[in-house]
């Protein structure tokens, strides 16, 4: 009986050994660079690497694609030394949290590599004075207008509102403006800025002007003049922030102006849309600022644990930060490349150049440490969205709400001024 039981145990142990041999995953090879990307960038990078895989001699490159941008973020949040990537591609708004939590490793670029980028772009990917990645492409918005409806480019915000009011009935316009790209907070900065409210501005030397405060009375007065109905104190229809079908209305010619993200341009081209592109004009004739942020390829601290830090750093420089790499990648991805050399390359489309030019005309870096600051009781993202809701939808006093907004933004900026 005893013998029989030992026999069972032996058989089970043997089965276990055989099966575990089949199940053991292949170890992370020290010459394999793992790159994580979301559902749009992942397939594009895979295509790029399939066409040319020798970006770093001696190393192979493996692209891991996640089902969405947020899925990629979740995976990064849970990543450990064993499971994490060597490089990931994402927005600059991940820099602060990732750097604070020790997930990122600093990168040092040569002077010639740095010269390919603006100071603002490198600032976008830095935290605490350290650069953590290389700028890959520009994320910005631009305002397009339907040239079948609007014959001339608007020079001021007032021109757009006047056009809407004058042609509302005649052209059957539903609204005047959509903010499609990036939502109320990210895309909506252009409107805030055009009407006189900026969460921060930059000095000519590319530093944050920490003493800047917007004037809530002026901004509130502009809100009343351009966006609010004098009777209901709610949206006058020019921009109905709650219109979830605004983009469809724009497509069908019921809205003349729309703020779109550069990644959306191709959708309009594919529909044969007649349009022109420019930044949102301000009330005084200049342009409202937009977030001209960059997405980047980031080096993780896991690369050192995997023994691939040198290969990963080389991949950042040879592929993600190089003119050749960005031109090849953006030919598939379709966003404006970040590197100056790539921006002027004949392989880059007019639309990509147009958005790049719009960003150059009127953009500010998206500085996560300011925008994510909560010192004033809320961060930029939540407070800006709430301002639109309280005024355009709930009809609250634009000036009173602007003062609350100003208080929050000022406190947020003041709290992080020493980190800038």
């Amino acid at each position: 009986m005893q013998k029989k039981r030992f026999g069972f145990a032996s058989v089970i142990a043997a089965t276990a050994l055989v099966v575990s041999g089949l199940l053991v995953p292949s170890a992370h090879a020290s010459n394999e660079i793992i790159v994580w990307a979301d559902e749009t960038r992942g397939p594009h990078l895979t295509k790029l690497i399939a066409a040319k895989g020798d970006w770093v001699p001696g190393y192979t490159i493996k692209i891991v694609t996640f089902s969405s941008y947020s899925a990629l973020g979740d995976a990064l949040a849970k990543a450990t030394g064993t499971s994490g990537p060597d490089i990931f591609v994402g927005g600059n708004d991940w820099v602060v949290a990732s750097a604070k939590t020790g997930k990122l490793a600093p990168v040092t670029l040569t002077a010639s590599q740095k010269a390919q980028f603006t100071g603002g772009q490198l600032y976008d990917l830095s935290y605490g004075g350290k650069l953590y990645g290389v700028p890959l492409d520009i994320n910005n918005v631009g305002m397009i207008y339907n040239t079948k409806l609007v014959p001339n480019a608007p020079k001021t915000f007032g021109d757009m509102v006047d056009f809407y009011k004058a042609n509302k009935t005649k052209l059957g316009l539903k609204n005047g403006l959509c903010v499609t790209g990036g939502g109320l907070s990210w895309g909506g900065l252009s409107v805030f800025s055009a009407l006189g409210a900026d969460p921060y501005i930059m000095t000519p030397h590319g530093k944050v002007q920490t003493t800047y405060r917007f004037n809530p009375n002026v901004f509130g007065a502009n809100m009343n003049k351009y966006l609010l109905d004098p009777v209901t104190h709610k949206s006058n229809g020019f921009w109905a922030s709650s219109n979830t079908t605004c983009n469809d209305d724009f497509y069908t010619g019921k809205v003349p102006y729309s703020i779109i993200g550069n990644w959306e341009w191709q959708n309009y081209v594919d529909r044969g849309f007649a349009m022109n592109l420019q930044p949102v004009p301000s009330v005084t004739g200049g342009y409202g600022k937009m977030f001209g942020s960059v997405s980047g390829a980031f080096l993780t601290s896991y690369a050192a644990l995997h023994g691939t830090a040198v290969g990963a750093k080389s991949l950042l420089v040879n592929l993600f930060a190089s003119t050749a790499g960005q031109v090849a990648y953006e030919a598939i991805e379709g966003r404006p490349p970040a590197a100056k050399g790539a921006q002027s390359d004949p392989g880059v489309s007019d639309a990509q150049k147009g958005f790049g030019a719009a960003a150059a005309l009127s953009s500010i870096p998206q500085i996560g440490v300011i925008l994510g600051s909560n010192a004033g009781g809320s961060n930029y993202w939540d407070s800006s969205a709430d301002y639109w809701t309280q005024t355009l939808i709930n009809g609250k006093d634009a000036v009173v709400e602007a003062r609350k907004l100003s208080k929050i933004w000022n406190a947020d900026l003041a709290a992080v001024a020493s980190q800038l």
Binding site: P57, G58, K100, G102, K313, S314, Q390
Partner: protein, 513 residues
């Protein structure tokens, strides 16, 4: 039929099943230990041994049935509770994820500062005749070339070098270059700080580039003090998960580590107005939401059950229709309702010819939440009440009627008390369920509207669990798992108390029966 559970077939099946299970669990054990997850590894190891002992011997027949359940209970109920309680005593938030050794390692890496000019060089990696790793450095700007090892820097005359097309030195006497292919196989060379000038060294920054750095932060393991050699500033463990500057404790170094702060997360719930005020509001709304939901769903369910408890034409059809909301996946129902209340294209505004922003007004949003939950919840109570009504003996009602009671009195004095006696535990269970009804809030309103301009942190429809979720996962720059764990423990205590009360009511019911 029972034959297949006996004999050789059963034995082979058992061996294969146990073998596969053991293999998988052994693999998980190995991975857990490799990742230094000793508690998890030990648990899986013990579970593996227990499974084999129980199923290979006749030590305990009941255990053959109970063991899987017991193991899952420990793994997925006890362990998460234990972990949550443990984390509630830690500073565990953005910036404090790592353990202390890992955080210190990162702090020291960040303590390497480039020289003021941000100097970088083209380099080639190779070895010296003594088989030591070395780099051949081309300082093209200054027309200087040298070979550096960890301890020595040797200038090399330009005439003795070979160059590539870009003017970068690729070969020198007493220097054997290593090909990129070979370098990729072993990164030992990249961990060396190569000698440069004074305290500065060259670190590998790519296959062909190096940067000039100086290690400004140094750590004394004996005293636990970090010193910035450039400024003289010292940093010590502040016992709150960070190295803080001596004399200026608010200046901390990132990243930090998870550090025990004992009951501080709990005390913050009461002492920090930024947490306390929204928490009280959320807590009040959560109780109201759960209580009102139970009352409304029970009331409507009972009403319909009583209406359909008597013979009528088409009763089966009505009953089937009433169960439909329950049969439909709640996620779908919630999303459909959310669409119906959309301000622009929603059916509700369309039917009422209004343009109400249902989810932007706190009171309206709360009303919608309660209405949708009534829709989702009443079929359950309709079913329960229908069954319970049929269980109440008709004789009681008939006797009351003979004694002169009118239908209202019969309901109030006989039907309802008997129903409540039977359904009390279910009502309590429903309250506990709705207390944590995360799906409804998350999918319907996302907890909003949140009037952030008025200083609101929690949304008007946030319940405790959705508020906790926001604290833990809402803003990636401000995630606070420790605080979220403390609130979770609070929720657990509330729900556990309610459940205990429910269990006691169950015993009352048993006594009644």
């Amino acid at each position: 039929m029972s034959g297949i559970f006996r004999g050789k077939f059963a034995l082979i099946a058992k061996i294969i099943f146990l073998g596969i299970t053991t293999a998988i669990m052994a693999l998980l054990t190995e991975h857990a230990f490799a990742q230094k997850q000793f508690v998890i590894g030990s648990f899986i190891l013990v579970a593996t041994l227990a499974l084999n002992i129980v199923y290979l011997t006749k030590i305990s027949i009941p255990f053959k049935f109970f063991l899987p359940g017991i193991l899952f209970f420990f793994a997925f109920v006890i362990a998460p509770i234990f972990f949550t309680v443990q984390m509630s005593g830690y500073k565990y938030q953005t910036g404090n994820y790592l353990d202390k050794p890992a955080a210190l390692e990162q702090v020291l890496i960040l303590g390497a500062q480039p020289d003021a000019a941000g100097t970088t060089f083209d380099i080639n990696v190779g070895k010296t005749p003594s088989n030591e790793y070395a780099i051949l450095v081309s300082d093209i700007t200054n027309n200087k070339y040298f070979i550096s090892t960890k301890t020595q820097r040797t200038d090399v005359p330009k005439a003795s070098l070979k160059f590539d097309a870009n003017g970068v030195a690729i070969a020198a006497p007493n220097f054997t270059p290593i090909s990129a292919i070979d370098l990729a196989k072993n990164d030992a060379y990249s961990k060396i700080n190569y000698k440069y000038e004074g305290k500065y060294y060259i670190a590998i920054e790519g296959q062909n580039s190096g940067g000039v750095f100086r290690q400004e932060l140094s750590y004394d393991a004996k005293t636990g003090v970090l010193t910035n050699t450039a400024t003289g500033a010292t940093y010590v463990d502040n016992h709150r998960g960070n190295f803080a500057k001596v004399g200026s404790p608010s200046e901390i170094l990132n990243p930090g580590w998870r550090a025990p702060i004992w009951f501080e997360n709990y005390s913050r719930l009461f002492s920090d107005p930024k947490i306390r005020i929204p928490l009280i509001r959320v807590f009040t709304w959560t109780f109201f939401f759960a209580g009102f939901t139970v009352l409304s769903t029970f009331g409507l369910g009972l009403l319909l059950a009583m209406a359909l408890n008597r013979a009528m034409r088409g009763r089966r059809v009505y009953r089937s229709i009433l169960i439909l909301p329950y049969a439909m996946p709640s996620v779908m129902s919630i999303l459909i309702w959310a669409g119906m209340f959309d301000s622009d294209f929603g059916a509700v505004n369309s039917i009422l010819h209004t343009s109400v922003h249902w989810f932007q007004n706190p009171m309206l949003a709360r009303g919608v939440v309660l209405l949708v939950n009534l829709w989702l919840g009443f079929p359950y109570f309709y079913l329960i009440c229908s069954g319970s009504l049929q269980a109440i003996p008709n004789e009681l009602m008939e006797a009351a009627a003979i004694d002169g009671a009118n239908p209202r009195q019969v309901f109030r004095k006989i039907t309802l008390p008997l129903l409540l006696q039977i359904l009390s535990p279910l009502l309590i269970a429903s309250f506990a369920f709705n207390f944590n009804n995360f799906n409804l809030i998350y999918l319907l309103t996302g907890g909003g509207p949140t009037q952030t301009l008025n200083g609101e942190i929690a949304g008007s429809t946030d319940i405790l669990i959705s508020y906790t979720y926001k604290i833990a996962f809402g803003n990636p720059n401000l995630q606070d798992f420790g605080l979220a764990s403390a609130i979770s423990v609070l929720i657990f205590l509330i729900v556990a108390s309610i459940s205990m009360y429910g269990l006691r009511r169950s015993k009352v019911m048993e006594t009644f029966v």
